[in-house]
Every structure is written in structure tokens, then in C-alpha cells.
Symmetry: C2
Subunit: 204 residues, 2 copies
DNA sequence: CAAGTTGTTGACGCCGCGCCAATAGCGTCC
DNA sequence: GGACGCTATTGGCGCGGCGTCAACAACTTG
């Protein structure tokens, strides 16, 4: 059985690049970095391995592009926030988050999943940047985006809250141990408590 | 400059194994998996590379041992919990956690740090196991370890709370954006709120 | 001091990665 | 429509990391 190799086809750089990227996203999504070879990615894309290096330089650089790409999900900017009590506004933000993350929840969780020892500084930088954007959203939602006192502490606490959001979303979408309503309750309650009960104790 | 190679010394298996393991822990702690070679580990331990495989089989298996090892920190079992209000008991547990994690906080944080896309199932299993133990501690601390109603939901929410604990501890020990007192406040307040305000809404 | 035990070594084969010169699609111009 | 040039694409080279295994030597035992 002599496999007829498909005739070599020439594509626009952007097109080819994106095609390879799609394959890489899928493979890196199912297995850890070290368990995915560029050979495999190239084969998946029906392309010579050298081409992967041509477009992305290094396996590591390709990986970073993948991470960046998968975080470019929740950019659909702010919907108008309702006026009302703190709880009302928080509730609305939580709902917005749940709605926008629902379609690709599992993928989103995979990106920010833990892998363990020895974190990569570059990867962390990318995740950190995404976190800052998320913090800005939350601050705007609770109406504290203009305040200067205890600024850093507030941001730090919201980053921590963000970690809980990720973990809880994971419980819901991957493990199925929480219903969507329970997740909604947890996220709302916690953020309200954070703003109402914890923030006031920070240095003025 | 002919380097005088140290005379070959023969050690007890346990001893040698532990020595190699120490080096591996240090190296995997500072760089991601793929950036650490077994050659490097062996060199660090002043030993032939083959010996690493002899004791740990595969690089990957060695890595798993490292992860397991670094999580074997907080096993110093329950100190007696004080009687008193929910807040008092939670406060005591948080203090206990902070005290026991303080000495090696940075290392501890490194273990549970995120690395991104494509999580390793084996690593996750280890982390998950450690999480369950932590959940048991928390449940005991808040005095809910006997309850059966809404059991899974409660555990899931506490796992999510645990993620916040990790992130907040990281803010304190690595980034320095929170003081220890602020961290203590955040952890206490959040857990109290979780038990007092969120749990009651779960199905009976 | 000889023989056995076993911790330890060094090299072999394989495979993945980064690089680069050669090759061949595809548009262009006469 | 055929020759030409541009560049997307290939395939192979060299290097280095990983797993294996037979040989070696440190230490023990009689």
C-alpha cells in the first residue's frame, strides 16, 4: 500500500501559519508540553517539520503563541453595568462572566490549569497580563476603579479571588461537582463579602 | 587543567537516592520540566547519568516523585482546635496554616504554581489528592466534617477556596503585595463568609 | 587475601530539535 | 504560452537528551 502523498500545496503565509497553530493548540491542549513533538504537530498539519520552525522559530515560542491565543477569549468588552446595590452589580458581572465563558469553558479551564513544579517565567507573564485585565473588569464592576488608597492590596486580593473563580469554574465545567447556580452563588457571595467586609479594613 | 575527578564512592541506595532527589528538587524548582536535563541533575549530584535512571526509572517518574515530595509538607496533624465562635475557630486554623507554611512558603507556592496549557494527568492526580486532605482539615476546622447533606457541593466550594488560599499566599510570599496581616484577614473573612452565608443555601 | 555482591559507570542506539541549502509552487512579463 | 523570479516548502545534517545494558570496581564476607 503505497500512500499517495498529497501534492505539495503552496499557501499564503498567514493561512499556513494559522493552520499549524490550530493543530498545535489542539495537541498542547490534550497533553503536556514535553509529550508533544514538533514532528507530531507538523504531521498533523500535513507539513514538513522544518516549516514549523520557519513560522514559529522554536517549539517553545510556538507554545507561548498557543498560550496567548487561548487566553484571547474573554475580550468581548464590557457590557453596560446596571445601576443598583453592590450585590446587583456583582451579580450582573458574574452572570456576564458565566455567559461569556460557557461556550468554551473546558478549553478555558485547560489553559489556566496547573501543571506543577517549576513554572515558566514567560508563561507566567502571559497569564499575569490576562489576570490584570480581569482585575480591571472586576474593579469596574464593583465601582472601585477610581480609588487610590490601598490600591495594590485590593488588586492582590482580587487576583486571589480570580484564582477561586478559575477553580470553581473548573469544578463546574470539568468535574461537575457544582451546578451553575451554585457556582453563581459562590462567586457572587464571595465577591460581595470581599468588597463589603474585607476591603474596609485596608489602610485608608 | 586536568580536573582531578573525585574517587568513586559507594553509598547506601537510600542515601544515594535521596541525594539525587535533593538535586532534582532544587533544579525542578527553579526551571520548568523541559528545561532541566537528567544530565544536569546527575552532574549536580556528581554522579553518572545512568544512575538517575537506575534509581528513578524515567525522567518523568523522577519528576512525579519530586512533586509528591514537595507536597508532603503540612502533614503535621491537627493541633487542637479551640472552642468558640465560628470566626474564632477559623481564625485559629488560618493562623495554623500560616505558621506551618511560613518557613518554606516560596517553595510551597512553586509546587502549586501554574504552568499553563496541557496539564499532566499524573501530576494533577497528586495535587488533587493533596487538595482532598486540605479540604478535610478545613471541614474539621469549621465543624462540618460529619454532615452529609450537600456534601459534594461543600467540598467543591472548599476546593475553590483552597485555590484562593494558594493564590493569596503567593501574593504575600512571592510578590509581596499583601502583608501577612492582610492575608490573614482575607483568608479568615472569606472562609467565614463561605460557611455562614453561602453554605446555608445549599440543598438540605 | 580470594570470591561474591551490588552500587556505579560509560557507551550505544534512538529520537526530537534547530538550521540551512536545495527544491518546486505560483504569479508575472515578454 | 513559455521562460523567469520570488518565496513557500522540503529534506537532511549535526547536536544533544533520554533509556538501556553489559562491564567495572568498591566494599563485604569467609
Amino acid at each position: 500500500m503505497t500512500s499517495v502523498r498529497a501534492p505539495r500545496r503552496r499557501l499564503e503565509p498567514d493561512e499556513r501559519r494559522e493552520q499549524i497553530l490550530r493543530c498545535a493548540i489542539r495537541l498542547f491542549g490534550e497533553r503536556p508540553y514535553a509529550a508533544v513533538s514538533t514532528t507530531e504537530i507538523a504531521a498533523e498539519a500535513g507539513v514538513a517539520r522544518g516549516l514549523v520552525n520557519h513560522y514559529f522559530g522554536t517549539k517553545r515560542e510556538l507554545y507561548l503563541v498557543v498560550v496567548r491565543q487561548m487566553l484571547r477569549v474573554p475580550s468581548s468588552a464590557a457590557t453596560a453595568l446596571p445601576r443598583g446595590s453592590l450585590r446587583t452589580r456583582v451579580q450582573a458581572s458574574v452572570d456576564w462572566f458565566l455567559d461569556s465563558v460557557s461556550p468554551h469553558a473546558r478549553t478555558w479551564v485547560a489553559v489556566i490549569g496547573t501543571e506543577g513544579v517549576g513554572s515558566d517565567p514567560d508563561v507566567e507573564a502571559i497569564l499575569a497580563e490576562a489576570d490584570e485585565v480581569a482585575v480591571d473588569h472586576v474593579l469596574a464592576a464593583v465601582g472601585l476603579d477610581g480609588t487610590a488608597a490601598g490600591h495594590e492590596q485590593r488588586r492582590a486580593m482580587i487576583r486571589a479571588y480570580g484564582a477561586m473563580v478559575k477553580a470553581a469554574t473548573r469544578e463546574w465545567s470539568v468535574r461537575g461537582t457544582l451546578s451553575r447556580d451554585e457556582l453563581r452563588l459562590l462567586l457572587t457571595q464571595s465577591l460581595v463579602s470581599l468588597v463589603r467586609d474585607t476591603f474596609p479594613h485596608l489602610p485608608k
